[in-house]
Subunit: 230 residues, 2 copies
């Protein structure tokens, strides 16, 4: 039987690369996305295209109804403006785009599915280099989640482990893009922008767009992103 | 300003008692329930009645659409029969009624809400005495969740803490019931049964009914539960 992995796929560049890497490592991949009232629902469509093109066996979308109105983040709360600059650069501040406990919620649901599938791993495309402002993207957070998961699950209690894999955690955006390209990934299917327009064009100005553009430039690779401005 | 707590309320006896205890400790209580395809949706109605009668400021129900078909438990998967005996007693086996990663998912969403509310605590009615078969009801699991939560949240990073409170963890069912009665709790509003009938009558035979009956008997208190059989 093939080894299985649940891979968190958001429709963005990082998680698409993570999925391609998991697949390349020989895992049978089960893609998992969330619809939680994020303002850019086009992500789900991108996630589905990415899952198909990389060859995931299944793509599951879990809808979290009632989470959106918890609010507290520019990504889910329409009353907070999405910041158009690198808010976390050269500062220890937590960006406005931080969603409360998001990775914890996503990893927890991935853990549940992994347990049912008898999967060996969960892959998540967190990165501690570019987004140091998010507390739940740090290696020490992932380590603590792993410890908790080992105590939470049947597999852990029985001496096994569902390993949380973070292959991008120490890579720069340019290195991530180089990895994806070398694995044949088509980045035109991915959406990174925090505020894409209705047709899916990226704004070119938000934190995420700026990092993506700089990544392609640093990797000396053509950027297939469709930008509406800038 | 009053101190705030998010309290996980399922509609059962344990979480109702936990809510009454949080309220008694002076917290402004925010009740949180989940609709995740559990077979006994009557729980949500009970949770709402309990939240109101104890005086929670708000009762939020988060619907997890797509989790139910992850399956893997007798409580969500209609093809697995609910066991009518104490499966965990005198054994280290994990009961069939175990829902994969359930407490981790619930606590994670409670953590997100607690962060937005700037709450000081999350209350969960886990118990390590009667249900030793569930890995995510053990003190070492809760401890590991706390460590992870401190690393996951803004509050944790800034030196604060959202404390996970488990006031029932070392109490017997009889002690839990005595606590609730002393705080004026009306247990007729709660539903413990794993397989209640359409009118909300408890089966009287499942693990949860048996523990509840024995709890009232040991506490020498009248059991207000409406049983359909037995």
């Amino acid at each position: 039987m093939n080894k299985k992995a649940v891979v968190l796929v958001s429709g963005g560049l990082d998680s698409a690369t993570t999925l391609a890497m998991a697949k390349h490592q020989g895992y049978e991949c089960y893609a998992l996305s969330f619809n939680y009232g994020q303002r850019h629902a086009i992500e789900i469509k991108s996630a589905n295209e990415v899952a198909k093109s990389v060859g995931a066996l299944e793509h599951k979308v879990i809808q979290l109804v009632g989470l959106g109105d918890i609010g507290g983040s520019a990504l889910t709360d329409a009353s907070i403006e999405v910041p158009h600059q690198l808010s976390s650069e050269n500062s220890s501040e937590i960006p406005l785009t931080y969603v409360p406990a998001r990775n914890t919620v996503f990893l927890s649901l991935a853990l549940g599915w992994a347990e049912v599938l008898d999967a060996e791993a969960i892959f998540i495309g967190v990165n501690a280099v570019d987004y140091s402002g998010y507390p739940d993207c740090r290696p020490e957070y992932i380590q603590a989640f792993q410890t908790m998961a080992n105590l939470a699950t049947k597999k852990g209690v029985e001496g096994g482990m569902i390993k949380v894999e973070t292959p991008l955690i120490h890579l720069t955006k340019a290195e991530i893009i180089q990895q994806g390209i070398s694995l044949g990934l088509d980045y035109s299917r991915t959406v990174s922008c925090y505020a894409p327009d209705e047709l899916g064009y990226a704004c070119g100005l938000c934190d995420s767009c700026v990092l993506r553009r700089e990544g392609f430039a640093a990797a000396k690779l053509a950027d297939p992103t469709r930008y509406s401005k800038g």
